[in-house]
Subunit: 330 residues, 2 copies
Amino acid sequence: MDVAIVGYGFLGRNLVASVVEKWGTIKALDPHFRLVGVSNSSGYAYSSEGLPLQGVLSSGGLGGYPGFTLGGTSLELLDKCSPDLVVELTPTNIVDGEPGLTHIQHSLRMGSHVVTANKGPLAHAYWELNAEAQRHGVMLLYEATVAGAVPLFSLVRECLQADRIMRMLGILNGTTNYILTRMHFEEIGFEAALKEAKERGLTERDPSIDIGGHDAACKAVILANAIMGKHVKLRDVKTRGIETISADAIRLAKRSGYTIKLVATVADRVEVAPRLVPINHPLCVHGTLNSVYLESDLAGELTLVGHGAGTQTVSAIMNDIITVLKHTSV
Amino acid sequence: MDVAIVGYGFLGRNLVASVVEKWGTIKALDPHFRLVGVSNSSGYAYSSEGLPLQGVLSSGGLGGYPGFTLGGTSLELLDKCSPDLVVELTPTNIVDGEPGLTHIQHSLRMGSHVVTANKGPLAHAYWELNAEAQRHGVMLLYEATVAGAVPLFSLVRECLQADRIMRMLGILNGTTNYILTRMHFEEIGFEAALKEAKERGLTERDPSIDIGGHDAACKAVILANAIMGKHVKLRDVKTRGIETISADAIRLAKRSGYTIKLVATVADRVEVAPRLVPINHPLCVHGTLNSVYLESDLAGELTLVGHGAGTQTVSAIMNDIITVLKHTSV
């Protein structure tokens, strides 16, 4: 299988390192597995023979890679190498999902399977992209888009095959959860906790995407569509952030055995808002952890807790890649 | 596919009810799905044409089913109907795994797939049973044996395909967790909490199996063998129960932000013992809930929380059955 990675950055490097580490597993599934192309925002590296993984890893930001095509675009790379599988890892753009949306559409139309960690395209065009994948008989997998390393979509697909999911609650944004955790345990105010989160590198350049609940809203849209078969768009999600949560409000909650968390609710309606959560409820996780609580007709209640971002997300991407390899080797 | 249920009781009834409810899903996977035999400790019902599911459900303890063979054994039933799939649901016997062990061995040797909720046979003969299944080219699935409705084994198999699990911690016994939860929150003693658990029907006839940690030890053995590839027997598990945990000990733990839980540890060594657990750790669940915390090389830390017993367990059995149906329909 010929593979291309589009949007080679932090996650891409960690992914290539994991591919090297798990080479035995991958080769056993597909002896012809090769990385034929890698791109970032400044250009791409390509080899029809397969790029040397160690060479890619040691090229720093890829610019140091010999034969790097400066100024080449990801779409040019895709046309050049016609990969069997495209791993799309460009940064999320919640406004219109670009450039990931175009990369994924282009790949599916070329008949390439797609694995992505980019929630923008799925939040904007979940059903359109799935229809495109079906039309071309290829897989579109996106385990890493919601709750990072927590394998939610494959859990529902493979481990709850008889269950019907009726309701989901999620703590899906690590930055806001860190802030609310500090406010709860240290009894500090929102501004002080936000400052700490910034110092720890937990905020995006524009922190309002996290703080305002918009990142969590994107994830709620994907959950609603992918797991509950709804037809929800980002504009349908009633979204409130945590900007106005006061130290007093949290102190009051704490006194009664509760805390305040930014909770995405996916049920009859889909919304993101600060909610009182009992401190002893499994959903109530702290720090940058993510959690998802499912209610289903057979299993009843099930909660998953894990890392929502960072290197651990590679677990989800690797699991998707292996799913594609197994599917195509049948 | 011809299916037999051996050990038709509480779980069996709930399973048949779920099969009725999910008939569309099942028929779509296998138009020839039939329940040909059902047995309990007093006899069996058999029909080569397939038993009417509603008739089985309304027969009460099966004894009321017309044509019930009083005194017939499960092995006779299996020989009579040669099912493609045997669902083994007899009560767990932690001393020697019988009669489940013989039922499962017999079924595998006949070339039947086996789905079971009975932890005794797997705790006693995990590798032997798996070798037998492999020898006969059939599946042996046991999702419901550990942490009931929490789909642990399929999660590791299908959702963490690239991960290597390095350590597991589990709260795997609902009865002891209920007792310890009451001791923590109500600040009552062990005897009072045990009495409550008895009144709520949460204890077995012999409560020492739960209280002494032996039930959790069986589950730890299955986890160690199935998920971490160890060769562990029940006698290898250092097991301590909760009988000697005092109200004082829990009060002391509580004061420092901890509580005491009966924790199964599966790492270099396998043991079950009361442990201090931080009250805010995802593993720390209350009431009769079960939890499993995994450490893996890629995903880092992942925790699953759900129902460890009761009707919800049917979710795990149904998932295993569907896995067999999909496997055989390829």
